[in-house]
């Protein structure tokens, strides 16, 4: 096999891995959209917020330390303890549930029955609010996220040597095997487990069935005694949990920083490709976008167009795709009536 071909395969594999991470963010969107018809623009900022909260708990930071210090002239920064990762994750999940309740209670309860586009703009407002809140609470500097469940067992960093060694024999002298980030492999596994768990939850539990009923028809669900309020809080909590997982993966990969919330924007074309209402669509769309943008950058972008085409490729692909199939790959057919 020629080396150029092998490098293309490597880019392809890395694209798959990146796609898994996009799909992780997209999953949260689909969950909320299916259950409440809200297109949650704030999903990415929720991932950022969750990751920052997790790091804050781990390091024992005092929330709003900066603001307190500036107002009262104190110098508090730290409680002086380092929480165990598992405890910190647990606390962060609690915070995300609290957030879900607050969002439902203070925002969307007042917007029931509004047009979808109004709800969408409200989530843009929510995104700004959360972003400012996260910065105020935990400070805006870039943080590193290390998740260790016991001493010496952390989220892996760097390339995976095993795959590199196994594949080194495929090419000639200059080929050292495929370079794939270990973290990406973990992320892929986690994403698969998460999707399986979500599908099982939606399919086999009472709450999950209620959730699907709400997604199908609000009023019918209401009339058979499903509490819309509870289901919406549940869905936002689930989305918060998915955001936390996505935040951990992206945060461990590139540090917890503002650009995390821009990754969420990348999840939008993923959704448009896969269809807003389909969980498998989110996965497949994520993989197509991930592979597509990496291959395009490698084969066309970098050699001919001056590079950095990853910024817009996903959107252009989705745009062109939508012109031919407006409901996405797996979305429900859009039927309009007057």
């Amino acid at each position: 096999m020629s080396e150029a071909f092998l490098y293309t395969v490597e880019v392809f594999l890395n694209g798959l891995m990146a796609g898994v991470l996009y799909a992780l963010v997209a999953l949260g969107f689909v969950l909320i959209y299916k259950a409440s018809g809200i297109f949650n623009f704030a999903q990415g900022v929720m991932a950022l917020f969750a990751a920052m909260t997790l790091v804050g708990f781990q390091n024992g930071q005092v929330p709003f330390a900066h603001l307190i210090n500036a107002t009262f002239g104190l110098h508090v920064t730290n409680f002086g303890w380092n929480l165990h990762s598992v405890v910190a994750v647990f606390l962060t999940v609690l915070v995300m549930i609290l957030l879900a309740w607050a969002v439902q209670r203070f925002v969307f309860r007042h917007l029931v029955g509004q047009e979808p586009i109004i709800l969408f703009m409200a989530t843009i407002g929510l995104a700004y609010f959360l972003e400012g809140l996260a910065d105020l609470m935990w400070g805006s500097e870039i943080k590193t996220l290390d998740l260790c469940w016991s001493a010496g067992h952390c989220l892996p960093q760097g390339g995976n040597f095993w795959i590199e060694d196994m594949t080194a024999g495929l090419g000639g002298e200059g080929f050292y095997g495929f370079f794939i980030d270990s973290l990406d492999i973990v992320a892929a596994v986690v994403a698969m487990v998460l999707v399986a768990a979500l599908v099982a939850f939606a399919q086999y539990t009472k709450q999950g069935r209620a959730m699907r009923a709400v997604a199908d028809d609000h009023q019918a669900a209401l009339s058979v005694g499903v509490s819309l309020n509870f289901i919406w809080i549940l869905v936002w909590s689930l989305a918060g949990f998915v955001a936390l997982v996505a935040g951990i993966m992206w945060g461990a990969k590139s540090g917890v920083q503002f650009s995390l919330s821009l990754i969420a924007l990348k999840a939008l074309p993923v959704l448009m490709l896969g269809g807003f209402t389909s969980i498998p669509g989110a996965i497949v769309g994520g993989l197509i976008i991930g592979v597509g943008e990496k291959l395009f950058e490698f084969l066309i972008g970098a050699p001919f167009l001056g590079g950095a085409t990853e910024n817009w490729f996903a959107y252009m692909l989705a745009l062109l795709f939508l012109v031919f199939r407006p409901q996405g790959l797996f979305g429900e057919k859009i039927i309009e009536r007057v």
Binding site: F39, H66, L67, A70, T71, V107, H110, L111, Q114, P116, I117, I118, F120, M121, A122, I124, G125, L126, A127, Y128, F129, L130, E131, G132, L133, D135, L136, S140, L262, L265, L268, P269, L271, M272, L305, G306, G307, A308, T309, N311, W312, Y315, M316, A318, L319, L322, V323, P326, E336, R337, V338
Partner: protein, 358 residues
């Protein structure tokens, strides 16, 4: 008491359908124009012009443009920043290619070029709608910014990748560059803002505007009663982009003077202008002004209160600003989806009856 229409009898169609049918409104409008044209230019200094008046006037044009698209035609766009960048770069190329032509012509031509680009990116709106379209306009935002960053022809092969406005004048008065007078830039932008507002106001209450609103309210029904969605949507994209392009050209050439595209015309700019029309009022020209004024004044006010009075560091104030803007968006969407413009309308109704409530 002060604000009433009793005793005003209109005898012609022309009088009845004018923009400000109530005499008090009309006089208020003339008064505002008089102050803006004849008083402010003689009182302003650099600080006032650069921190308040120029951003207000320029954002007002952008908000009018976006309001035509979102508020009147119902096509949500997140590509405003990208279209402003088109206006800025078109203006820059024109300024450097034809140094002797008046700035007025450059800015208007920049608007025309942006209108063309806007129509191109508006084409998908014929097939997709709602937030699918909103996401599709993100493609315009990211692609255009990338294009201006990566193709050296657009920034005349300058080493820094920035564009700098050279000194240009109109009727012998310097408008761009470092040596301008505060009043000159103010008046230049004011002319564009006032003319844009008058054009937009008359378009939106004419047949074009009614077609847009029909498309906004229900596109299929509009099509059935004979509105051509192709021309209606594309004209909305074109005219909206025209105004946005003008504001981008002014933003670069008159206000900032030097621009790095990702920083000045990034996705945040798109959101800022969208927030202006949400807070100001969707589907209202006055709302565009109110929203622009509000979001231009808010950071200035916060800075005065937070940094100067309370002594907080600037980063806290910046974060607090995000929180406040986000919360305000939500509050406005819940309490008053039609924004400041609607508050103003309600106040006017109250004033007409005041002091007798019935």
């Amino acid at each position: 008491m002060f604000y009433r229409e009793a005793g005003e009898f209109r005898t012609t169609y022309k009088e009845d359908s004018q923009t400000f049918p109530i005499r008090f409104d009309r006089w208020r409008y003339y008064f505002v124009l008089f102050v803006a044209i004849c008083v402010i230019p003689f009182m302003v200094n650099d600080y006032w012009v650069n921190s308040i008046f120029l951003p207000f006037l320029i954002y007002a044009i952008a908000a009018i443009g976006l309001n035509i698209l979102v508020g009147y035609c119902g096509q949500v766009s997140l590509g405003t920043g990208g279209f402003m960048a088109v206006g800025a770069y078109a203006c820059y190329k024109l300024m450097t290619a034809f140094p002797d032509v008046s700035m007025f012509i450059h800015v208007i031509l920049a608007g025309v070029i942006t209108a063309g680009v806007g129509m191109l990116f508006g084409l998908p709106s014929l097939r997709i709608k709602g937030f699918y379209l909103a996401v599709a306009t993100l493609a315009a935002q990211f692609f255009l910014v990338w294009l201006f960053n990566r193709v050296p022809w657009f920034y005349n092969y300058s080493a820094s990748g920035q564009i700098n406005a050279p000194e240009r004048d109109t009727f012998g008065i310097l408008i761009t560059g470092p040596n301008t007078e505060a009043w000159a830039t103010y008046v230049f932008c004011l002319i564009f803002t006032v003319v844009s507002a008058i054009i937009a106001r008359n378009l939106t209450r004419g047949s074009v505007g009614r077609k847009w609103m029909a498309i906004r309210d229900m596109d299929i029904a509009a099509e059935i009663i004979g509105v051509n969605p192709l021309t209606a949507k594309l004209s909305a994209f074109a005219i909206s982009s025209f105004f946005v392009g003008i504001s981008g050209a002014l933003f670069f050439s008159v206000y900032l003077g030097a621009v790095e595209v990702g920083e000045a015309f990034g996705i945040n700019k798109s959101f800022l202008v969208l927030f202006m029309i949400i807070i100001g009022g969707l589907g209202s020209i006055f709302g565009s002004f109110a929203g622009a004024a509000f979001l231009v004044l808010l950071p200035v006010a916060l800075k005065v209160v937070g940094v100067d009075w309370l002594g907080w560091p600037t980063d806290i104030v910046a974060h607090l600003q995000l929180v406040i803007v986000g919360a305000l968006i939500i509050v406005f969407l819940i309490a008053e989806p039609h924004g400041i413009a609607q508050l103003w309308r309600v106040t006017k109704e109250k004033l007409r009856l005041w002091p007798f409530p019935h």
